[in-house]
């Protein structure tokens, strides 16, 4: 609630750049929440989540630019397509243990990057531009206007948050939480653990691709940079500094990181070093992240 108020406040008062930033943060928030679903609730740490972000964006680009689909139709289609790919990949890898899983997701992420960097159809390294935006003129809006885009993005982020909150509080979420804590016992009780993990993997991927399509809508542009491993890495950092295993944590982390990134890279070309050190400090000393630390102050126990 507080965050929503802050978002509305920012939108109201900030200028052009502020609203643009808000849209960016909203997209990052969706992306971060999707990773948190996989990492914090499903217990699967992925360093290749940007793959699905990129696939969503590229699918949108492909459908609208090559197949001439209307963007309003292409967007949900892209999410579904990415879901299918995620399902296929997930079937191969969800049974792998923690550290192995990290390696394989990193590899798959880079595979996506390598594909799109070479593929001439999608513009190679330079990417594609000119992706059409959804026509909101009926609603009196125009996505090219950062103010309107921010509204759409924040609304989307809020809906994702509410949907995920529902999912986590449902029996499905309870079972996933249990198998995160003790997969062996869940299995012994009859839980098809791999199926649940695959479901979480696929849902997380589809949400990431939603974020990707929104990004394509925001900038009208896609490039392999969307999929590069450092994007996945930055996302993981976002989630961890915000606080794993809650939904508000990633949102806070996304906001913090986006802002920090912008300011730091304006100040010094060595922002990666500072972020790396900051991240390590968080992992070492404040493993529950921002949200956990705040929750400890506000309530007795962090709400997990």
């Amino acid at each position: 609630m507080v965050l929503l108020a802050a978002a509305i406040g920012t939108w109201w008062f900030a200028g052009y750049a502020g609203q643009d930033r808000l849209g960016e943060i909203a997209i990052a928030a969706i992306f971060a929440m999707s990773l948190d679903l996989m990492v914090g609730y499903g217990g699967m740490v992925s360093l290749g989540h940007a793959l699905f972000f990129g696939l969503g964006a590229y699918a949108l680009a492909g459908l609208t630019l090559f197949l001439k689909w209307p963007p309003g139709l292409a967007l949900p289609a892209s999410v579904l397509l990415t879901g299918l790919v995620a399902f296929a990949i997930g079937r191969l890898i969800v049974h792998l243990g923690g550290v192995f899983f990290i390696m394989v997701t990193l590899a798959f992420g880079q595979m996506g990057w390598a594909w799109f960097a070479r593929d001439r159809l999608f513009g190679g390294i330079a990417g594609l531009s000119g992706i059409p935006q959804i026509d909101l003129s009926l609603l009196g809006g125009d996505l090219a206007n950062p103010a309107d885009f921010a509204i759409v993005a924040v609304t989307a982020a809020t809906m994702v948050y509410l949907a995920l909150a529902r999912l986590i509080e449902s029996p499905f979420g309870a079972v996933v939480s249990a198998l995160h804590r003790n997969a062996g016992r869940a299995r012994a009780l009859g839980c098809p653990v791999q199926s649940y993990k695959l479901a979480v993997f696929t849902i997380a991927a589809m949400l990431a691709s939603l974020a990707g399509t929104l990004q394509a809508q925001r900038t009208g542009f896609v490039s392999p940079d969307l999929l590069v491993w450092t994007s996945s890495g930055e996302l993981l950092i976002m989630v961890i500094i915000g606080g794993i295993g809650s939904l508000l944590g990633p949102i806070a982390g996304a906001a913090l990181w986006t802002l920090l990134h912008h300011y730091l890279s304006a100040v010094t070309p060595y922002w990666m070093l500072i972020m790396g050190a900051f991240f390590i400090a968080i992992v070492l000393f404040a493993a529950e992240g921002l949200y956990g630390a705040l929750a400890r102050l506000a309530w007795r126990r962090p709400h997990v």
């Binding site: 890898i93 070479r118 070309p269 070093l273 050190a277």
Partner: protein
């Protein structure tokens, strides 16, 4: 379509050379993974540091051989430092946290190199002794590349001897096989792990210097090589020397021949190999521990 035998041999040697490079990098990573269920994502950073330190050493001493000897030691020292300062604090925590810390180190590593050596691509000249080409089947082939192949094979042999014949090697093999058992037998697993970790860092540094005359060195080369290295570990199977060797050769060949035969799909080849192995033999081709 069939290449003539001379080109075939050239490509084979190239693949072998690249494979040896991957081997030097992957064997340390793989054994550490098998021993402690821990992946040092900053492994490539040590490779990069090895290359740049080698560059500086050559600049200072004018001798490639000194650089080859010293840079890996420096890399191992840096690795040991990280281990002592950071990783040991996380000894009791989940392996995941340790991995995340190494991930943060990658970020720090890249910028550190940029700060000290600048943003540009560099190269080291091959030592005078190996600067010429040797004629293979009528085609000139750089002698230095043959040196790299030889280096890799010698290292592989020494490692194999070390694993099979020395006490430390026996401890490592026991630890990879069953960590808990080895620890409960009173073997100092922590010391063994530290030793293996440092050896892995040394190998990474060695790879960095050795390959500098062949490839360009630049900040970010750590990640460029990390991915194929990880794929080698996945394909070869964690924890085993033979797996690392087989995996490196396989991936080295796949990438080299892929670039020649299917240039559009070149970089895709190694991922295709990984996916294939994941499908057919999820534990890797020659893992140390046979899983159910």
């Amino acid at each position: 379509m069939l290449p003539d035998p001379a080109s075939l041999v050239i490509q084979l040697l190239n693949g072998l050379q690249y494979g040896m490079l991957l081997f030097l990098l992957s064997v340390g990573l793989s054994v550490v993974l098998g021993l402690m269920n821990f992946i040092n994502l900053a492994h490539g950073t040590l490779y990069m540091l090895g290359a740049f330190l080698g560059l500086s050493l050559v600049g200072v001493t004018g001798s490639f051989w000194i650089a080859l000897a010293c840079a890996p030691l420096l890399a191992a020292a840096i690795g040991a430092l990280f281990y002592g300062v950071l990783l040991r604090h996380l000894q009791g925590e989940s392996a995941m946290k340790q991995v995340l810390v190494t991930f943060g180190l990658i970020f720090i590593g890249i910028d550190t190199v940029r700060m000290i050596w600048g943003d540009y691509e560099e190269a080291i000249a091959a030592p005078a002794l190996l600067a010429d080409s040797i004629r293979i089947w009528g085609q000139p082939y750089p002698a230095y590349r043959l040196f790299v192949i030889a280096l890799g094979l010698v290292v592989a042999l020494l490692l194999w001897l070390g694993l099979e014949r020395t006490r430390l090697g026996a401890v490592v093999r026991a630890g990879v096989d069953d960590r808990v058992m080895a620890a409960s037998l009173g073997i100092n697993i922590d010391a063994a792990f530290f030793g293996v970790f440092c050896l892995g860092c040394w190998l990474a540094g060695l790879a960095g210097v050795a390959v500098a005359p062949v490839l360009q060195i630049y900040p970010g080369m750590d990640v460029a090589i990390l991915i194929p290295t990880l794929i080698v570990v996945v394909v070869g199977g964690p924890g085993s020397l033979r797996g690392a060797l087989l995996g490196s050769l396989l991936i080295g060949m796949a990438e080299t021949f892929g670039a020649v035969l299917l240039p559009d799909f070149a970089s895709f080849m190694i991922y295709a190999v990984m996916v294939l192995v994941l499908l057919l033999r999820p534990g890797g081709l020659l893992p140390a521990r046979q899983t159910a």
